[in-house]
C-alpha cells in the first residue's frame, strides 16, 4: 500500500506492506536510523518521535496510521542551520547521555514534556519520563538537562 507523510519537512511517499511499523518505515525505508528500537512491548521510549507535534512511540504506530501526518524525528529537530536545538544542547551541556541509545527518544520526549509543562518541577519531569527508559545515566542529568533545555526553549520562544 501507498503511504504519504511529511518527515522532517520533506514530503515522502512509499509503497509499504500494511503491517510496516512507523519505526521500520523511518529506519528501513527512509534511512533515518536516529529513531531507535529498544523493545517490542512499547515500554522503552527509544523510538519516540513527534507526530503532528506530539511525542509518540513510533514502534506503536503503523506507517499507514501516519498517513498525511507531520512527523519529526531527532534528525529534523534542530533548525537545519547547524545549531543544536536547545534541548539537544542542554543534554550535551548537562551530560544527559552516555551510550546515546535512549537519547533521541529521550530528547523528543523532553521537548514535548516542556511544551506541555513549561515550568515542570523535578517531580513532574520524573513522572512524565516514565515511558522512557535510560539504562546508563540514572536520570539525574537527564532531569537537569530537561530543566536547562526548557529554559533554552523559553528563550528561543518556541518548542
Amino acid at each position: 500500500m501507498n503511504v504519504s507523510m511529511t518527515v522532517n519537512g520533506r514530503s515522502v511517499t512509499a509503497d509499504v506492506d500494511p503491517p510496516t511499523l512507523l519505526t521500520e518505515f523511518l529506519r528501513d525505508h527512509l534511512g533515518l536510523t536516529g529513531t531507535h528500537v529498544g523493545c517490542d512491548t512499547g515500554q522503552c521510549g527509544s523510538c519516540t518521535i513527534h507526530l503532528d507535534g506530539r511525542a509518540v512511540k513510533a514502534c506503536s504506530v503503523l506507517a499507514a496510521q501516519a498517513e498525511g501526518a507531520r512527523v519529526v524525528t531527532i534528525e529534523g529537530l534542530a533548525d537545519g542551520n547547524g545549531d543544536l536545538h536547545p534541548m539537544q544542547a542542554a543534554f550535551r551541556e548537562e551530560h544527559g547521555l552516555q551510550c546515546g541509545f535512549c537519547t533521541p527518544g529521550m530528547v523528543m520526549a523532553a521537548v514535548d514534556l516542556v511544551n506541555t509543562y513549561p515550568n515542570a518541577s523535578d517531580t513532574t519531569i520524573r513522572e512524565n519520563l516514565e515511558g522512557n527508559i535510560c539504562r546508563c545515566t540514572g536520570y539525574e542529568n537527564i532531569v537537569r538537562a530537561l530543566k536547562s533545555g526548557a529554559a533554552g526553549m523559553g528563550d528561543q520562544g518556541n518548542g
Binding site: D40, G100, T103, I133, Y139
Partner: protein
C-alpha cells in the same frame, strides 16, 4: 558540573555527543550491506528437552528462505563451541567441569531461549515466519532452576557428564585460622543472603551483521561487542577455525553493555560462518525478549556468611559459603566471577585477619550467568557490608563506629589482605567522614522523628565498599587460570600537520573515551583538544586490544596511551635537539614545547611532527622518519577504588513502599580526568545498584523453567521516578602503580549501593521488629516482612 576545560581534570563536554544527539550515531542495527539477508533464531521453548529431530523442510520451502541450519550442520563443518576464558581448579585439584557450549543445540536444549536452529531469508519478516515452520520434535525433561537444589542428588542433570551439576568447588583463605577465630569470638553475626539474579538490559539489543568476501577470503563482522579484538581472537581461534588476520570485527557505537556484551555469543559466531555458506551478508538484531532470554544474566548467589567479633567490636574472622548459579553453559568469564572477582574482595575495607571462603558453582537450566556491572564485587560487598551493619546492631555500635574500628589505617598501605589482594593505597575514613557530612547524618534523628509524625518509618544505611579494577597482571592471572592476557594496547599517531589520531583497544559504549582519552593526549602533547581524534572498536584500525570491562579502560588502556606518548616525546626530543642544534640533554619538554634550557630557542610538537614526516632537517642517520608509536601496558596490580555510600529511606508501613529520600556516594577513584563523566558513571552505577535492591530480579518458574520476567512489563527497570537525586563527591588518593594515578569508576555505584539501601530499610523497620530483608525489596516483600515481624511480636 565543573569547568569545561580540555585539560586533565576539566569537565570537557563530550565530543561524541554531537552525533548521538542528532541521530548520527552508528549502531550495529543501523548498518546495512548490499545484498543483506536476515537471520532469525529458533529457540527452545523448554528449559530442558531432548531434541529427537528437527524437520526444516517446510521452513526451507517458505517464501524468501535461503537456508536453515541446525547444530548438525555446524558439527559437520567442524565448528567448535564457545570457549570459557578462565579455568578454575576444584578443591580436589582437578580442573572445573567444562561441558561443551555449542552454538546451536546438539541433542538437547538446556534453557528456555537456547539456540536450536537459524533461518536465513531475504527479509526479516520472512525469516521470522519461516522460523515458526521449523518443526522440532522435543521430549520435555525435568528442569532444575535453583543452584542449591541442583546440587542435591537425584536432580535432573544439565550435562550428563557433570555429576550433581557441580562445575567446581573452590576455596580461598585459611580455614584453620578462621575456625580458630570463631572459637574465641565474643560474638558471631550470621546471615543467609541471596544476591538476586539480574538481567543487564543494555538498552541497545545485541545485533550482528556478518559478511564474507570470497575475492579476499575475508570476513567482516559488525557486532555489539565491548571488546572486538577478543571477539575476533575467540571466534577465529576457538570457534570457527578461521585465520585471525582474515577476520575484521567492528563494534561501532554500542548502546550500553554493563558486561553483557563482553562475551562472544552463538548468534554472531553462527552468522559469521553462515555468511560464507550462503555467500551473502546476514543481519540479526535481537528482539528485547531475546535479550531477556539469552543475554548473559548476572549475580544469582546464595550465601551463608558469618563474622566473628571480639569484645571491642573488632572483626577477627569471617567465613563464607556461597553457591553460585552458572546457568546452563559456561559463559566467557562465568567461572572467574564468583571466585577470583568475588572471594578476593571479602576483606572489604577492614583488617579482618582470618577469612575463609568456599564457593560451589552450579549448572542449572537457566540462561548463562556471567559478569554484570561489578561482577563478583557487588556480591562480595553485599556479604561484607550486610554482615558489618548487622554486627553493629548486634553489638550496639553505630554504623560509623564499627567501621572506623576496623578500617585499614592509612599508614598500613600497601596492605596485604588474607584473601590474596594487596591494596596499594586508600583513605577509608576520609570518604566516610565526607559522606556523613554530605548526608547530614547529624540531622538524621530529627528527620526520623518528623517522618514518624507523618506515619512514615525513616532509616539510614551504610556501605563502605572496596572493589578491584583493571584485573592484572597477566602472568599472575594466568597462574590463576586466565586464558587471555589482561594488558591493553594503544597507538598515538601524529600527522605531519600536527593533528593526532589515537588508536585504543579499549571500547566505549557510553563511557566517553573519545573525550577522556583525547583530554589526556591533548594535555600531555600540548595539542588542541579538537585536533585529537580517538579511534576504537575496529580490529582493522586499532592493532590490538582487550576491550572494556571491569572499569579497566582508563587504568589499563589510558596507561598504554601514556606509554605510547612517552615514546613520542622521547623521539621528538631527539628530533628537536637536532633541529635546534643542541644536546639532547639540554632539551626541556613542557606542554607541547621543546626548549633549549636557558634560551628562548624552542619548537612546538607540531613543528617536530612536520619535520618527522618531511625529514629535510632531520637526524636520518640516527632516527627513522615518522612519529607514530604504539605501546602495550600490563598493570602490576589491580587498582582499588573504594568509597562510602549512605542511603536514607522512608517506608510507608501500610503499602510497603520504599522511597529513597537521600542517597550520598563519596568515592575514591584516584586521579580524575573528567569529573563530569565520572559523576555520570557514578549516577548510572547507583541506578543499577538501587535497581537491584528495590526493583529488579529475574525469576524463573521453579518447575517449568520458564522465564517469568521476560519483558519490560514483568522485569522492573528503574524509571526516572523510581530514583532520587544523588549527592556525589570524591575524596581521591592517586593509584600508586599506573602512570595516570587513576583507579576506575564505572562499577562503583552498582557495587556499593545495594547493601546501603537494604540496611536503610532494615534500620527504618527496626521499631516494627524487622531484622532481615531480601532483594529486591518490593512493596510486597517489605509489607510481608512487616506483617511477619508483627506476627512474631504478637506470638
Amino acid at each position: 558540573m565543573g569547568e569545561p576545560t580540555t585539560k586533565i581534570g576539566g569537565s570537557t563536554r563530550r565530543s561524541e555527543d554531537k552525533r548521538f544527539l542528532t541521530g548520527q550515531g552508528r549502531y550495529t542495527d543501523d548498518i546495512n550491506m548490499a545484498g543483506q539477508t536476515y537471520a532469525c533464531f529458533v529457540r527452545s521453548p523448554h528449559a530442558h528437552a531432548r531434541i529427537n529431530s528437527i524437520d526444516t523442510s517446510m521452513a526451507r520451502d517458505a517464501d524468501g528462505v535461503l537456508a536453515v541450519f541446525t547444530g548438525e550442520d555446524l558439527a559437520n563443518d567442524g565448528i567448535g563451541g564457545l570457549p570459557c576464558g578462565w579455568q578454575i581448579h576444584d578443591v580436589s585439584g582437578e580442573p572445573m567441569a567444562e561441558p561443551p557450549h555449542p552454538l546451536l543445540a546438539q541433542g538437547k536444549a538446556r534453557y528456555v531461549g537456547d539456540h536450536v536452529a537459524v533461518v536465513i531469508a531475504e527479509t526479516k519478516q520472512q525469516a521470522r515466519d519461516a522460523a515458526e515452520l521449523v518443526d522440532v520434535d522435543y521430549d520435555m525433561l525435568d528442569a532444575v532452576i535453583s543452584p542449591a537444589k541442583a546440587l542435591e542428588s537425584g536432580q535432573p542433570l544439565v550435562h550428563d557428564e557433570v555429576p550433581d551439576n557441580r562445575c567446581y568447588t573452590w576455596e580461598l583463605g585459611d580455614s584453620g585460622a578462621a575456625d580458630e577465630a570463631f572459637e574465641r569470638a565474643h560474638h558471631v553475626t550470621s546471615l543467609d543472603l541471596v544476591n538476586n539474579r539480574l538481567i543487564p538490559n543494555a538498552l541497545e539489543p545485541r545485533a550482528a551483521v556478518a559478511s564474507y568476501s570470497p575475492g579476499e577470503d575475508h570476513y567482516t563482522l559488525y557486532t555489539t561487542s565491548q571488546n572486538p579484538h577478543l571477539a575476533r581472537l575467540l571466534l577465529s581461534a576457538f570457534v570457527l577455525n578461521l585465520p585471525e588476520h582474515k577476520v575484521r570485527v567492528v563494534s561501532p557505537d554500542v548502546g550500553g553493555g554493563f558486561g553483557s556484551k563482553i562475551y562472544p555469543y552463538a548468534e554472531e559466531a553462527t552468522l559469521t560462518w553462515a555468511s560464507k555458506k550462503i555467500g551473502r551478508p546476514i543481519k540479526w538484531t535481537a528482539e528485547r525478549v531475546e535479550s531477556f532470554l539469552s543475554d548473559a544474566h548476572g549475580r544469582d548467589h546464595v550465601t551463608r556468611a558469618e563474622m566473628a567479633l571480639d569484645t571491642d567490636g573488632r572483626f577477627i574472622g569471617m567465613r563464607v559459603d556461597t553457591k553460585a548459579n552458572l546457568g546452563a553453559y559456561l559463559s566467557t568469564f562465568a567461572s572467574a566471577v564468583p571466585t577470583i572477582l568475588y572471594a578476593t574482595l571479602l576483606a572489604g575495607q577492614y583488617t579482618t585477619p582470618a577469612i575463609h571462603a568456599r564457593v560451589t558453582a552450579v549448572f542449572t537450566h537457566t540462561a548463562p550467568v556471567d559478569a554484570y556491572r561489578g561482577a563478583g564485587r557487588p556480591e562480595a560487598t553485599y556479604v561484607v557490608e550486610r554482615l558489618v551493619s548487622q554486627a553493629a546492631r548486634d553489638m550496639g555500635l553505630s554504623q560509623a563506629e564499627i567501621r572506623r574500628r576496623n578500617f585499614i589505617p592509612t599508614d598500613a598501605f600497601p596492605y596485604q589482605t588474607p584473601v590474596a589482594l594487596n591494596y596499594d593505597v586508600g583513605d577509608y575514613d576520609a570518604t566516610l567522614t565526607r559522606a556523613e557530612e554530605l548526608a547530614d547524618v547529624a540531622g538524621f534523628e530529627g528527620r526520623r522523628e518528623e517522618a514518624q509524625k507523618r506515619g512514615k518509618y525513616r532509616g539510614i544505611g551504610y556501605s563502605t565498599y572496596i572493589e578491584a579494577c583493571g584485573l592484572a597482571p597477566s602472568n599472575i592471572a594466568g597462574a590463576l587460570g586466565a586464558r587471555a592476557g589482561l594488558y591493553e594496547a594503544g597507538e598515538v599517531r601524529l600527522h605531519p600537520t600536527g593533528k593526532v589520531t589515537v588508536f585504543t583497544g579499549s571500547h566505549s559504549h557510553g563511557q566517553g573515551h573519545e573525550t577522556t582519552f583525547a583530554q589526556i593526549v591533548s594535555d600531555r602533547l600540548g595539542i588542541p583538544f579538537d585536533d585529537v581524534d580517538v579511534v576504537h572498536g575496529d580490529t582493522d584500525r586499532s592493532a590490538f586490544g582487550m576491550g572494556t570491562y571491569g572499569s579497566r579502560s582508563l587504568a589499563v588502556g589510558g596507561s598504554a596511551i601514556v606509554k605510547a606518548m612517552d615514546k613520542i616525546i622521547d623521539k621528538s626530543r631527539r628530533i628537536a635537539a637536532h633541529m635546534l642544534e643542541a644536546a639532547e640533554a639540554d632539551i626541556e619538554y613542557d606542554d607541547g614545547t621543546f626548549r633549549v634550557a636557558g634560551t628562548d630557542k624552542s619548537l612546538s610538537m607540531a613543528e617536530v611532527a612536520f619535520s618527522a614526516y618531511v625529514p629535510h632537517n632531520y637526524p636520518l642517520e640516527q632516527l627513522e622518519p615518522g612519529l607514530d608509536e604504539s605501546a602495550f601496558y600490563d598493570p602490576t596490580n589491580f587498582t582499588y577504588p573504594a568509597g562510602s555510600h549512605i542511603c536514607e529511606v522512608e517506608v510507608d508501613p501500610d503499602t510497603g513502599r520504599v522511597e529513597i529520600v537521600n542517597f550520598t556516594a563519596v568515592d575514591d577513584f584516584g586521579n580524575v580526568i573528567n569529573p563530569m563523566i565520572v559523576e555520570g558513571q557514578v549516577h548510572g552505577g547507583l541506578a543499577q545498584g538501587i535497581g537491584q535492591a528495590l526493583l529488579e530480579g529475574a525469576v524463573y518458574d521453579a518447575e517449568s523453567g520458564q522465564l517469568i520476567t521476560g519483558t519490560y512489563m514483568d522485569y522492573t527497570m528503574p524509571r526516572a521516578d523510581d530514583l532520587p537525586s544523588f549527592r556525589v563527591d570524591t575524596c581521591n588518593t592517586p593509584c600508586t602503580h599506573n602512570p595516570l594515578g587513576v583507579k576506575g569508576c564505572g562499577e562503583a555505584g552498582a557495587i556499593g549501593s545495594p547493601p546501603a539501601v537494604i540496611d536503610a530499610i532494615i534500620d527504618a523497620l527496626r521499631p516494627l521488629g524487622v531484622t532481615d530483608l531480601e532483594m529486591p525489596a518490593t512493596p510486597l516483600r517489605v509489607w510481608q516482612a512487616i506483617q511477619d515481624a508483627q506476627g512474631r511480636q504478637v506470638a
